[in-house]
């Protein structure tokens, strides 16, 4: 190899080494951020409360509460990540979740047992996901606009189902909401956590496996990374995208059911803002908005971060600081994501 060749090789190795460093940062930064957030909230009120004592961020009661409220986003954000990896987005997940909660609560209120109510809601959710898929993949309407339209639709239908004058499907003097509706999302099953939590864990596991070990995850990344290459390799991008929207619809049902169970009612506005939470989680987790890259596991950590921030902030600042805090977190996540992904644009 001549001198020029040797120089090229050493530049190549240098490149590979710096890429390795960057790759490591990309792998571990998020745990660092999570740890930071937890530490901040743990020491925040140390003047007033004891470490791990009552009212402390890391007290058992507080942790259980945090995890229970985190169930919907943990159930949903995995599927959301998969969709974003393929290069598409669904802004209607919040309203879908609300509609699912409403329908589920309605059925429970009217005497349906848990499982049949769940199954029927699942069918509804799959149909809703299929609608999104139709608008985006088949009719080729821009995903943002298409899912804003369905957001409106789902929210509208949920509001119409709820009887006038009442703000949610809930029990009343005439018709009592069966108390066991609470069990799924609140009743202690193991270590203080309810069924819904373990279902969420299972969902996370499933989605992580789906992303890493199945053809669904691989094709999603291929579609998002280089659509032409994917199509040339024989991947049916339209069908794949459609399927991914349906999957999001499916898990939106589980999230909605968990929320309805937790609140003992079906609130047509209960899912508002869920799409933003999902976007923040996904951004923190390093998924590129343009697709191709992403990790379900990291998104889940991102979801935990946002939950910590939301619940943690509630203990240190009044409720009316929530929105500005969340907006700042989103913009922070945008910057973080931009710095992480920037190298891809260069290459």
């Amino acid at each position: 190899m001549n001198a020029k060749g040797a120089k090229e090789e050493s530049i190549q190795t240098q490149l590979e080494r710096s890429q390795a460093v960057r790759a490591n940062i990309k792998r571990f930064y998020i745990y660092f951020v999570l740890a930071l957030i937890v530490i901040i909230f743990s020491v925040a009120k140390l003047g007033q409360v004891e470490m791990f004592g009552r009212g402390h961020f890391l007290s058992p009661a507080s942790v259980i509460n945090l995890l229970r409220t985190a169930v919907p986003i943990m159930t949903l954000s995995g599927a959301f990540t998969l969709l974003m990896i393929s290069g598409y987005i669904d802004l209607s997940v919040g309203s879908a979740m609300s509609l699912n909660a409403v329908v589920f609560a309605l059925m429970i209120l009217n005497g349906f047992p848990f499982l049949p109510a769940l199954v029927i809601t699942l069918i509804l959710g799959i149909a809703m996901g299929a609608l999104n898929g139709l608008l985006v993949m088949k009719l080729r309407i821009t995903p943002v606009i298409a899912t804003l339209v369905t957001l409106s639709l789902f929210k509208g239908i949920a509001l119409l189902i709820v009887p006038d004058g009442l703000s949610a499907i809930k029990g009343s003097a005439e018709k009592v909401m069966p108390p066991w509706i609470n069990d799924y999302a609140r009743k202690n099953v193991l270590l203080g956590m309810p069924w819904a939590f373990f279902v969420a864990l299972a969902v996370i596991a499933i989605l992580v496996i789906l992303q890493r070990k199945t053809i669904l995850g691989k094709y999603a990344a291929a579609m998002g990374g280089n659509r032409t290459a994917a199509e040339l390799s024989g991947i049916n991008v339209v069908k794949m995208g459609w399927l991914l929207y349906i999957i999001v619809g499916f898990f939106a049902v589980l999230a909605g059911v968990a929320r309805a169970s937790y609140m003992s009612l079906g609130d047509p506005l209960s899912g508002d803002g869920m799409e933003l939470d999902n976007i923040i989680a996904v951004l923190l987790g390093g998924t590129a908005f343009s697709g191709g890259e992403g990790s379900v596991a990291k998104t889940i950590i991102g979801a935990l971060i946002i939950m910590c921030v939301t619940t943690g902030l509630m203990t240190v600042i009044p409720a009316y600081w929530q929105t500005v805090a969340k907006g700042s977190v989103l913009l922070f996540a945008v910057v973080l994501n931009h710095l992480l992904i920037r190298e891809k644009v260069k290459a």
Partner: protein, 342 residues
């Protein structure tokens, strides 16, 4: 001069309708049809007051629609406008509430003169616009995400200043003037007049100014625009600042009308602004759309929502109707344009 050029001269004078004009006319047609149906099936629809309301009900959405339409033409969203309305309204109150007049913190402000207060409030609005521009034009982050973030930021600041509620005390008398005065002998508020002025100015901007033309060029082909010497980033910054300014003006007018700065004001207005722009024929694929169309879209939306109320449908039908109407409009416009292209 050859035969073709002679023909070209003739045809130029005769003028061939642009696609925007075609779609605007199409939507006017849709409006007429819907209007006819409404008159037929909705009791008491065809009343003079109702007709007037169709245009005056929505004045704030129309003003927002100006900025949103221009940005959509370039292929960008602005979902922060609702939050900016809330922020500007709250700030305009806070800045001119009397200082140290009360024990209640929410009744104390900065005591500035009204003119200065609204000027500062507008400046803050444009600050939000500047944040949008930075992320979108400079960092090239997708506009939907950024503007959802700044929406929360703006509204969040409003919530902090009002502690989640509103500020409405210790205001100078002049505060309630601009939002409430009406034209002599009518019930038409000045706000509506301002809206008409702004839309007309926007229409002139879009059709007749170099800057307006630039908007279309960027939307049609950003790369070609750059190679033709257009500073795309600068123009997008301009548009985001304008959008924020328009939202700011709306916020001041609304705060004045209700003599209060409410942190929950204008919830969902950004979505309505998007809807009326889409109804007006704007294409997010870029380079295509018109504020006149947006105006027609706003009237269409008014007809639909007024009919719904007239038919005694509960206000909860709003969301579903808006979704369905938007969807049908998108498809219909696509269909009409495809047919036109032959």
């Amino acid at each position: 001069m050859n035969v073709e050029t002679k023909q070209a001269r003739k045809n130029t004078v005769a003028g061939r309708m642009s696609n925007e004009s075609f779609l605007t006319l199409f939507m006017i047609g849709v409006l007429v049809v819907l209007f006819g149906i409404a008159c037929a099936i909705v009791p008491n629809f065809f009343l003079p007051q109702n007709m007037l309301n169709l245009i005056t009900n929505n004045w704030f959405i129309i003003i927002l629609g100006i900025g949103v339409t221009f940005l959509l033409i370039t292929g960008n969203f602005d979902m922060s406008v609702g939050g900016v309305i809330a922020l500007t309204g709250v700030l305009s109150v806070y800045f001119c509430q009397g200082a140290n007049v009360s024990q209640n913190a929410l009744a104390n402000g900065l005591g500035l003169p009204y003119g200065l207060a609204i000027a500062l409030a507008l400046l803050c609005a444009m600050g939000i616009g500047a944040i949008n521009a930075f992320f979108i034009a400079r960092l090239k982050v997708p506009s939907i995400i950024v503007t959802l973030g700044t929406m929360m930021l703006a509204r969040g600041i409003a919530q902090v200043i009002t502690r989640g509620a509103q500020r409405n005390t210790s205001l100078p008398d002049v505060f309630g003037v601009v939002g409430n005065i009406a034209i002599q002998g009518t019930s038409i508020k000045i706000s509506v007049v301002i809206m008409v002025v702004l839309v007309s100015a926007a229409f002139i901007f879009e059709r007749m100014t170099v800057s307006g033309r630039r908007t279309y060029l960027i939307g049609a082909n950003a790369e070609a625009a750059r190679l033709s010497g257009i500073t795309v980033g600068r123009h997008l910054t301009f548009l985001y600042l304008i959008s924020a300014l328009l939202a700011g003006i709306t916020g001041i007018l609304l705060a004045s009308e209700f003599k209060a700065g409410v942190s929950s004001r204008a919830m969902g207005y950004e979505f309505d602004a998007l809807v009326v722009s889409l109804l007006g024929g704007v294409s997010i694929a870029g380079g295509f759309g018109s504020v006149l169309g947006m105006f027609v879209g706003a009237v269409i939306l008014s007809v639909v929502t007024t009919s719904a109320t007239g038919l005694l449908l509960s206000p909860d039908w709003q969301f579903t109707l808006k979704g369905i109407v938007t969807f049908i409009a998108i498809l219909a416009q696509r269909f009409a344009l495809d047919r036109r292209k032959g």
